[in-house]
Symmetry: C2
Subunit: 102 residues, 2 copies
């Protein structure tokens, strides 16, 4: 499962948002009010973990999950050449770069 596919499912994006908003969370916590079963959430989390978007560590009987921004970064970098307002963004950054690096 690659990163793009991992991001394709709305439930998984929802999980990403939840982890971004409310620190490290367990499977149970992420399941509450998600509208699908705990096992389904586990599957989604496993996919996110395989895609390295989420990392998990055990704390007793809980599995705590947190975001790993790197792979998302890579997706963003792939998108950039195709995204519009690229020029506008470039010119904005051009100013910054001009100050800092040129």
């Amino acid at each position: 499962m690659d990163i793009f596919s991992a991001l394709a499912d709305p439930k998984r994006r929802q999980l990403i948002e939840a982890l971004w908003l409310h620190g490290p969370l367990s499977i149970k916590q992420l399941s509450e009010g998600a509208g699908i079963s705990r096992q389904a959430i586990t599957k989604h989390l496993d996919i996110l973990i395989k895609a390295k978007i989420v990392s998990a560590e055990f704390a007793g009987k809980e599995r705590l999950h947190r975001l790993n921004p790197k792979p998302i970064e890579r997706v963003a970098l792939w998108l950039q050449p195709f995204a519009e307002q690229w020029d506008e963004r470039l010119s904005r950054l051009k100013h910054y770069l001009g100050e800092d690096h040129e």
Copy 2:
């Protein structure tokens, strides 16, 4: 089919890259050397069109396709809060700017 799912397939990302590199292209042209049938390419293009990532217009018997950056931009915007490492991004931009704009 939403934008994220449209971007999930590697063949479709390949099509996006091809359209970005070599202007408006027909189905035939996009099929050459793609490794799958013309009909499969058509299906992928239809998905990209439904996601508004690609627009198509007829020129005689050919259907010409071009990129529409807006939806890709929206995806990029969704990703931004989760993607950190702006510094790395900046250094890439510096390179880009150095080549094309400075």
